[in-house]
Amino acid sequence: MSNQAYTIIFYLFAAITVFSAAFVVFSRNVIYSAFSLLFTFFGAAAIYVFLSADFIAVTQVVVYVGGILVLLLFGVMFTNSIMQTDLKTDVLNMVPGTILLVATLTGILYTFYSTHSWMPSTKQLQGSIVERIGFETMSGFVLPFEMASIVLLVALLGAAFLARFEKQGNKEQ
């Protein structure tokens, strides 16, 4: 494909990401917000693909769409009277909000313009990214990896303990 086609597709995905993210924030219906997140996550995954990070892109879909979004939807659907509650999406605290926005934007733009340009790595990536990720996780980054797995294991045990505790509480049933 030509460079132009890539640019068009990139802007398409960028637009999808930005507009669906805006919809998540401005929608008055929690369910619509949650479903709109699907498109945001997808757009983000597509942008990862444009950065040649296809592993991260797939992980993004697995973790955020398969895990977090489904959890969110479950939570929203099991909440009582979710449709009756009218969400507040008005603009509140106009002055502090504007100051914060301008400050953040200035900071980001200043960093963007004061840093010369993109800093491409001198090392050219060879072969499959997945293999490199595997080797790096199991060699250089084995400690953070193991720590993350212990944190997750503790979280799992905690969740199982909480769920069990409630079950033993009403034994007479």
Binding site: M1, S2, A5, I31, Y32, F35, L38, D54, F55, V58, T59, V61, V62, V65, G66, G67, L69, V70, L73, F74, M77, S128, I129, V130, E131
Partner: protein, 358 residues
């Protein structure tokens, strides 16, 4: 168009007359046409006939010879039907639900190698992508179930999602065993590593003494992922009318079923690629009788993977008319207390086998 690897799909990617990437569109349309044709013939007609023979009936016999045109008549009927959206339904989610569902099952076809010369997208994370993309279907089911504004639909959707999300874990670990034996996640490479003169003996199912365990675990988990019996509690007719598609009729109903048949073929193709050699011919070369060489090549490859997929779909249909439905608690018991521990065991054993034995 030679017979070298991905020759057909590479040729099609380069085919853009007048600057329009027509080849890419055709490339994406091929699996779509395949799903439609197969769902129409083997999916609906085949399932009705197979279920009929299992129950000692004849099945559809009126339209055409042996009822062969029955599905066409059904499709004509579905197209003519009024597009009903219930008044109290959430219009947007109700309409978009079947669409998301179908997109979810169709996206995985991008990484299925249909032949040595054809694959939609030769990703080096192909298998991971195929496992992960199923989660789109989950969102579609939830949209359909919630959008219908019907208690049965919502229950069906919630059950279905709980089931898919839980069974993803043993399924992914079982497929990881296959990926470990191959040492790659690239679907085309996994298939190529299983080719050889001895045909089926090179398939991963027969390459290690433990491989049958992840194979079986993935098969069971894949049944649950596509909501087929004995795991069809999301659409349990006797309890929930029809689960998350209770309110659907006409073409939306057809799209939901197209998605179901699409994902049935998808899981069958994945299990054949990871454990049964994908497009490789199962026939061995016996001396001068070079059966394997004769039955290899791009067109034969397409034949073999589709036949292997159809075989597993036949097994799925067979099980559907043989086994009773599981209860919800039995379903969760099977997933968390049986399949997941056994998947971990098979993972460790496969790792030991891959590192120390061959």
């Amino acid at each position: 168009m030679g017979s070298s690897i991905n020759a057909w799909s590479d040729w099609m990617t380069g085919f853009n007359p007048m600057g329009i990437p027509l080849g890419l569109i055709i490339l994406a349309a091929i699996p779509l046409v395949f799903i439609a044709v197969y769902a129409l013939t083997y999916g609906v007609y085949g399932e009705r006939k197979i279920s009929a023979f299992m129950q000692d009936r004849l099945g559809p016999m009126e339209v055409g010879y042996w009822g062969i045109l029955q599905t066409l008549a059904d499709i004509l009927k579905l197209i003519q039907k009024e597009d009903v959206v219930p008044t109290s339904a959430d219009k947007f989610l109700f309409v978009i639900g079947p669409g998301i569902l179908f997109v979810g099952s169709f996206l995985a076809f991008a990484v299925l190698p249909f032949s040595p010369a054809f694959i939609g997208a030769n990703l080096n994370v192909g298998l991971f992508y195929a496992i992960g993309i199923v989660s789109i279907e989950v969102v579609g089911i939830l949209a359909a179930g919630w959008g219908s504004n019907n208690k049965w639909s919502l229950y069906g959707a919630v059950r279905s999602v709980a089931q898919i999300v839980s069974y993803e874990i043993p399924a992914a670990i079982a497929l990881l065993c296959g990926a470990m034996m191959a040492g790659t996640l690239d679907m085309q490479k996994i298939t190529m590593l299983q080719s050889g003169d001895f045909g089926f003996a090179h398939f991963y199912l027969f390459q290690s003494p433990i491989a049958w365990l992840p194979f079986l675990i993935y098969f069971i988990a894949s049944l649950a992922e596509v909501n087929r019996a004995p795991f069809d509690i999301p659409e349990a007719e006797s309890e929930l009318v029809a689960g998350y598609f209770t309110e659907y009729s006409g073409m939306k109903f057809a799209v939901i079923f197209l998605a179901e048949y699409g994902s049935m073929f998808m899981v069958s193709a994945i299990i054949s690629i990871v454990f049964l050699g994908g497009w490789n011919s199962p026939l061995p070369n016996i001396g001068g009788l070079a059966l394997n060489t004769w039955t290899s090549g791009p067109s034969w490859g397409a034949f073999w993977i589709i036949m292997k997929g159809f075989f597993f779909i036949f097994v799925q249909m067979w099980l559907r008319w043989t086994l009773p439905r599981l209860r919800v608690d039995q379903l969760m018991y099977l997933c968390w207390k049986v399949l997941t521990p056994f998947a971990f065991v098979s993972f460790v054993l496969t790792a030991i086998w891959v590192i120390y034995v061959p």
